[in-house]
Symmetry: C2
Subunit: 239 residues, 2 copies
DNA sequence: CCTGAATGTATTGTCAACAATTTATCAGGG
DNA sequence: CCCTGATAAATTGTTGACAATACATTCAGG
């Protein structure tokens, strides 16, 4: 059902040039064809995509708003390099938003909804079981989107989507790898809590789940931000 | 202290053309010079502001992302008219995000922070007391921003800011008026809960406070969306 | 009189060129 | 040899014009 929208028409509306460029750059970032910090020059991109600078510019603006690229006035755009602190804040925000989402889902989910979620998680497991990590990750991520959809709040859905989209970039910037898989066990437990309309438990599980995700990235947060002496190996603070 | 940044330099950096246009349109919407639904034609705006269409276009894109204008492909932009449902979702999202903010603030706020908040609310009261409703509303809104700042999460701050910015438009669309004032009593209670590091109480107070705000707008949510028969007075569902 | 197609107008999407700003290069002085 | 300042190249910001699409008007047919 989820893929119905994309598979419905073989010949979709031809998607504006700006959309194509946006998608291409975004995907290139995720595939890490474009490493964090890479400069995105408008003319180069325009030539590559065979469009004018105006559409590249527009696409970059949108990517900037999504925090996938950083834009400095008069100084161009680079692929974003989320700092450790920023990454922690993204996960903190995800906790807040997904707790709210899962709470509402637990309150309002029907039996049909629960069944759908169970099926979803099953296909996740199947993907991982057959070694399709890539597909599994995608399904795991979409599980969170699905939950948001179920909560029926487009505002929160949009925020979640933005945060979920930023997550792989964080993984790339700090591990140089694709994001760690979601851990199906957490999802299963979540679904059951939702099915049982156990709001409190669902929230607690979600909080833990996101903590797991964050921990899997090894974001050691250096509360003292590299004491400068440390960085240059001059007068060490501990010597 | 808050106004220091804006008053620091009389001659700020001259702000890009796009920024000026963005600010002007946004302000015009808030002052209801531009009613919800008003079409925003690029050429007209370009002439008015004495700039090219490209910068208007860029400003409109940003306004679109802020949900202050609605953009339809090939069909231009109009001042957004948030539906009742959408408005409810905005408040629901505010509840989720501001609960998280106030929880963290309650956990981490220092005595200095508490003092600052008390002072802030006092200046709110003073503004209302001397009949300066406009200034009072602004201070009340900024109180929420202040809280977000205090929580120290830029991601959540940004979301809050977006939602807070959408609120006056909601008020305009459904009451044709400026937003109702915030109610200083709620703020006072909040500050005390934060000062006492009473996380639970602070969250509950914030939830209530936002419910008050929403109620003040009289958003009667018609769960059945005007059954079409109703609209045209044909075969009424209840006849 | 109403319906619907065809034409014309208005509006947005795209482009290539110009202006302003930043970054890189290099000569001269300390 | 390094630092400072001027010059040149590269890059972004902005503009006006052209192309494609949507909207309004008119007019023929029922």
């Amino acid at each position: 059902m989820a893929s119905a929208r994309s598979a419905a028409r073989r010949t979709e509306v031809p998607a504006s040039a700006e959309q194509r460029v946006f998608d291409a750059i975004r995907d290139a970032i995720f595939e890490h064809q474009l490493a964090p910090g890479t400069k995105l020059k408008e003319v180069s991109l325009a030539e590559v995509f065979g469009v004018s600078r105006a559409v590249v510019r527009s696409a970059l603006a949108r990517l900037g708003h999504a925090h996938l690229v950083e834009q400095r006035p008069n100084r161009g755009a680079v692929v974003a390099t989320p700092s450790i602190e920023e990454s922690r804040q993204v996960f903190e925000a995800r906790t807040a938003i997904e707790e709210a989402i899962v709470a509402k889902a637990a309150r309002t989910a029907s039996a049909r909804d629960a069944a759908m979620l169970r099926e979803w998680v099953a296909s996740e497991e199947a993907a991982y079981a057959r070694g399709d990590e890539r597909g599994g990750v995608r399904l795991s991520v979409d599980f969170h989107r699905r939950l948001a959809e179920l909560a029926g709040n487009r505002v929160l859905s949009r925020y979640l989507d933005e945060l979920v989209t930023r997550t792989p970039l964080i993984a790339l910037a700090h591990r140089g790898q694709a994001p760690a898989p979601c851990g199906c066990d957490d999802h299963i437990a979540l679904v059951e809590a939702i099915a049982a309309h156990d709001e409190r438990r669902a929230m607690a599980l979600m909080r833990e789940h996101i903590a797991h995700l964050e921990r899997a990235l090894n974001l050691r947060h250096p509360d003292k931000p590299k004491s400068l002496a440390e960085v240059f190996g001059l007068a060490p603070a501990g010597a």
